[in-house]
Amino acid sequence: MRRIVVALLLLGFMAAWWVTAPSGFSELELPGHTPDAVAGERVFWAGGCASCHATPVNGKRAKGADKLVLGGGMELESPYGVFRVPNISPHADGIGGWSMLEFVNAMQHGVSPAGKHYYPSFPYTSYARAAARDVMDLKAYLDTLSAIAGGPGDHSLSFPWSIRRGIGAWKRLYLDAAPVQASMAEDPLIERGRELVEGLGHCGECHTSRDRFGGLLKDRWLGGAASPEGKGRIPNITAGGENIASWTGSDIAYYLESGFTPEFDTVGGTMVAVQENMAHLTSADREAIAAYLKSVPTVD
């Protein structure tokens, strides 16, 4: 009897180990693509990398040229504990020396070069939907930025979130590179918007509410959510949204470009940094985002 129990425990442990094992692309799965740093700069802004990874200046978020100082160190307060944002500059303390495969696996599979899971506070759940070639371009761009030494300590999370291996099980439930909204191959503008909103822009990470384990409720896609930082609400940006419902597509594009609403009030809160990133995109990309947002199902 005791042997059976031991065998079952062992089997259970092996199953859990297998379920939670980190995995990623193999070298063969990377597209044949020559990384382009100029294209990568647009990916950088679309992905909002600076909003978390730029080192805060005097305790405040970095502005202007300081957004390219990617030494990390920002602290993200969350219901699970404090996440400390790492260095992603091309220094040995950051991503210096990473291979292209390691970088793509970090961005799209949430696996570190050492084979550990990243917490999904790093929105690889969205970046998984980006084109691998865009991610390759991003690395080429990051490699052109200043190498910054040092980095913050580890996250301070509460149990059971502190068990990193457990993210493997979480990923099996929630990491899904498939489009959230059906692909719109017949409308290239909406399709481009889908790539930006669902993928690089990772808009759903804040604008969609989550279940108790932190998985996005895709039937409430972009329907607004409690602020991940605990106070206030992130607005519904579907046609059911109180403010955005009356906005035209060009209102949305202009807001992302200038930071002004149709009432000529200014963008506020955590959206300020996002809008400043979106201002770096082309106007065609901002129009694509607007077209996509106008196409998503209404959430009331």
């Binding site: 405040k60 200038s258 002004f260 000529f264 009030d265 200014t266």
Partner: protein
Amino acid sequence: MINKNFLRLPVLVAALAIASVAVAGDSPQKARHELMEGVLKAAKVVGPMLKGEAEYDNAAAMKSLTTWQSAAAEFGDLFPEGSDTGEDTEAAPAIWEDRAGFDAALVAWSDAIDVAIAANPATLDDAKPVIGAVFGKCKDCHDGYRIEKE
């Protein structure tokens, strides 16, 4: 008895009227709110031009700029100590905690207005960079010195 109360009423009304005028006149929260409403009204004239929804009109744009110029000159005086709360103010505590930063943001706004007025932009293409810069200063100052209302 009735007479006495009857006599008191106008006195009471007058006292209330004086009190309310005094409150309206004295409250910096209200004064700066109204000043900002004027700024917004002027922005609603120029904004649609920059956005491409209205025809560019130099005279109207210059009128908005002078409205902002006089608002920028007065605005900084409307945040005395003790006016950080009350009357639904959207002023952030950072204004008093980092007064130098707030003052610098106001100067940046005022300077951008002066540049745009000096440019006296004749066309939309001339106006976009200089008035766009003024709009940018609105955003910069709100981000940090204005609280977000639910």
